[in-house]
Amino acid sequence: MNAVLNSIARLGRSVLDGAQHAGSMALFAIELAWVLIPTWSRPRDILQQVYAAGVLSLVIILVAGGFVGLVLGLQGYNILSNFNATESLGVMVALSLVRELGPVVAALLFAGRAGSAITAEIALMKTTEQLAALEMMAVDPMRRVIGPRFWGAMISVPLLAAMFSLVGIVGGYLIGVVVLGVDGSSYWGQIHEQMEAWDDVGGGAIKSLAFGAVIALISVYEGCRAEPTASGMARATTQTVVLSSLAVLGLDFVMTAFMFGA
């Protein structure tokens, strides 16, 4: 009896904790929103963060994009050849990448590579009183530290996702056309006929923009509220990756339902 009550209480407690978490993140987001425009008064800070978050993630994104394209080409060829429709390989690879895999996989990789780094960096700055030092120097850490990192991540994700998709489509071409002998002109021709500039490419870009914003928010928020201990920082970085991944996948479903559904 007691055990049942306890587990119900535990459930209630975790629901309350979750609600509190969401609430404080919302408050944090509002506070952050206030400084997002003023942050651009120091574009060099943002540029530095685009470098740290975006440029340094480029290699993993390009390599992953290439491999995903190769696998899609291989799998797509196997399935489509059953229907004698391998000329549709191009459009299958392209739409999979542009609509879904590009934005989603790039975002997941980014959360693991750069999001966790942002969290760890901010958490360490907080632990070593660097953020407090900024405040006492009459420099707002929100503008100077948090804002640029938010923008850096937010700008990088859509660009990385676009490059991921592009490299993936080329990867599909390599395996499908060069290795497996699908007709090259129909690979590109089918893409050219069926891929929509606004709905597919634009839709994918909007998705990755939203993913970028979500990952950026979670990364800086987790950094700011990390407990100033070794285990607290470890928890914060883990939390960033877990929360970002879940948020990206959940948001992806919702956005897909709105944009491509029905």
Partner: protein, 152 residues
Amino acid sequence: MNVQRGVELVVGLFVLAGIAALMVMALQWSNFGSSRVAGYEVTARFDNVGGLTVKSPVKLAGLTIGRVDSIEIHAETFQAEVRMVIDDQYDNLPTDSFANIYTSGLLGSQYVEISPGGALESLEDGDRITMTQSAIILESMVSKFLFDKAKE
């Protein structure tokens, strides 16, 4: 300062590359533009369009020369009226050309194939192709085949 300059340069290239990737996909690889190609409109009525959809290609001798713009029910004949936009560079299609709905591959997407006739006059904007053949519906073909076999 030199390091800073290098970072600026790399970030600039990074942003350009990202935008370029997006632009290549959106403007070069997609059907952007090709759906808005300058062209003239012709219509054709089919008893059954099968799986033909808006934006399906219109082909001549296997090459895409245009695109389906709209498919509507014609109010009097209850046929499907397909409006196609054909690229201006193919402005010499004979008026007695034939419009078929074919399927690419066994289960592939459907498209309109134009078979040119022999008339001297060419199709103009707003003209109608009168000779059409509907999409082949697999079920009706199979049942017809079985029916014929049974009669023998």
